[in-house]
């Protein structure tokens, strides 16, 4: 067993373990921390595949920025573990959850068996040769700002939309607006009563 394989298995197991714990643990803070562990392990996997840039970005953006923000939010909201999370789910949805999981598992097995069947040639044949600098920052940057410039810019629009949406959803009403609304509702109530009569 070479070192590469050892690293792969260790980080893969850590990633899956982190993800499982993240779902099962009831304490939100611990849950976020497990997610962080999982992401870190995934970053290792990326780097091992040669996608250096992706690995680093995963660490910097997700682990460094987004999850820390998550932690802040969770702590600020002061959620405690073990709270009642509402009604247990209906048997139907519980069943479908397991069904989807099972399907994905079957699929995974098929994919692994399919690619182990000695057909790598067809795949790589279509992919073309892998360049030496594959996954480096320069390479990704070149692609991102030439061939894929347009989708890259498009994601900018997407982010803008998300911001606008978040503002609309999250913003509290000012007192003036609340008063306006109340007035409107009253007016409307009157008008519809008149129409009915």
């Amino acid at each position: 067993m070479t070192l590469d394989v050892a690293i792969f298995f260790i980080s893969a197991i850590v990633a899956v373990f982190g993800a499982t714990m993240m779902i099962t643990v009831r304490n939100p803070v611990a849950s976020v921390l497990y997610l962080l562990v999982s992401f870190a392990a995934q970053a290792v996997l990326f780097i091992q595949l040669g996608a250096l840039f992706l690995g680093v970005v995963l660490i910097i953006v997700y682990v460094g920025a987004i999850l820390v923000l998550f932690l802040f939010v969770v702590m600020l909201l002061n959620l405690r573990g073990g709270e009642d999370l509402g009604q247990p789910s209906r048997p139907m949805s519980r069943f479908s959850k397991y069904l989807i999981g099972a399907l994905l598992l079957v699929e995974l097995v098929f994919v692994i068996r399919g690619s182990a069947g000695g057909t790598d040639q067809t795949v790589t044949g279509m992919m073309g040769p892998v360049v030496e600098t594959f996954g480096s920052v320069q390479d990704v940057g070149m692609l991102l700002f030439t061939t894929y410039l347009y989708p890259f810019e498009l994601t900018g629009v997407l982010l803008l939309v998300a911001i606008v949406g978040a503002v609309v959803i999250a913003k509290r009403e000012t007192e003036r607006e609340a008063a306006q609304k109340k007035q409107l509702v009253e007016e409307r109530g009157h008008s519809s009563e008149e129409k009915v009569s």
Partner: protein
Amino acid sequence: MEVQLPEVSLRMMAPELFLFVWALVVITFDVVTKRAQGESVGYLTMVGIAITGGILAITGEGPGFGNMFYNDPMAIFFKIIFLGAAFMAVGSSFGLTKQKIVNHRGEFFGLMLLSTVGMMFLASANELLTIWIGLELTTIPLFVLAAFFKDNKLSVESGLKYFIVGAFSSAVMVYGLSFLYGLTGTTDLLQMKLNLATVHLTFRNIGVILIAAITMLIAGIGFKLGLPPFHQWVPDVYEGAPTPVAAFLSIGSKAAGLAAFAKIFVNGLSAFHGVEMAPNDWGKLAGIVAIAALILGNTVAIRQTNIKRMLGYSSIAQAGYIMIGMVAQSALGLSAVAFYIFAYMFANMGAFAVVTAFEDKTGSCEIKSYAGLAKTSPMLSICMTIFLLSLAGIPPLAGFLAKYFVFAAAIKQASLEGGQWLYWVVGAGLITAVFSLYYYANVIKQMYFSKDDSPYRVGLQAPAMLVVLIGLAGVLVFGLYPEPVLRFAGEVPSMFGFVSP
């Protein structure tokens, strides 16, 4: 490393860019005027859409950014549908924004425009990444719009539900796309088609991954279209969301999903409905989904008492009819799909405009509360009747021709070798069409057959009136003289490399 940029032409993207800027203008205008200008924001939006339509008319065909943005007849046809749907949705939401949305009117209309921009980008995309981003750009504003009434429990529920389902389906879809990329080594659909055609995949080796990709893509897009078994969100979202948003959702987002489906499956994977790769034939899988949509949508709609839920289920069924044209996998089928959405737009937006006006006046969406409406608001009832009959597919309205062409495409394909299974799809479509007539006629029954007068007298505001008139004109004119649209729709598949019929 030399720098290579694809062929770039901003002129080709002019309509999208303009509409994007206009969306920002609308939002800013609302903020700058301290949200006092209630109606003018709406009019501003409508003007913007109209100008975009004008720009679209003079843009012409050609690449905007290589294959990632290419204006072909299909893109233009779908863009017309998106703009039309947006225009009619905005037009019918004046009363609603006046009554229920005190602030954020600018955002309401702005998000609608941004969603339209996403659809338009999607329509021009011929590449997996841009298709996916376009689809996201389409749906993310719709999540927010569905939850726009923040103090209404149903609306928030619908927004949340739509968001979770949407995010999940996007994830499934992107997973499928990654498989496709991994298999073919390209995100470009044309290249993908060529690559797949040169390599003979069989079930033994890599075919199974392709099956997985196809399944996940059908699931992902099926969520967007509301096809069973991914349809559960549809009625709840339609019921809870603001009515014009539901209308926009039923046309815009559905047409966007269909465009994505046509691009990925009918174009990119077209090499795989041949004889060689029987297990990878996506058509049969999609056909089963279509049959399920037809049966489920049309039967469950019968039991609905809320008109928005009823229209929600009916939209599931309509998606099933559209999929009949899609699984025909032919040039005629794609033209039929394009024409179907076009005709569906007029009827459905018109019907929703009437439902919105009725809801604004009475606050009720129950079908029962329409009783006797024909006596107090005869013109509105006639319009609603015509829209519903068009949805049910009664000649000489446009909805009939739409159904007719979809069936025609399927039957034509069914008469070819190995296409006999399509008769099952057509059969399901026919039998359920009778069911659909039942629940559409139920609304007509309420309006006309009641002996008592309705307590409400529902009028239409000027913009809503315009919407209803556009819908009426579309349904009648394109039902009686569909030739120009048909000619245009006939060009839709021209980039797909079918032999023309």
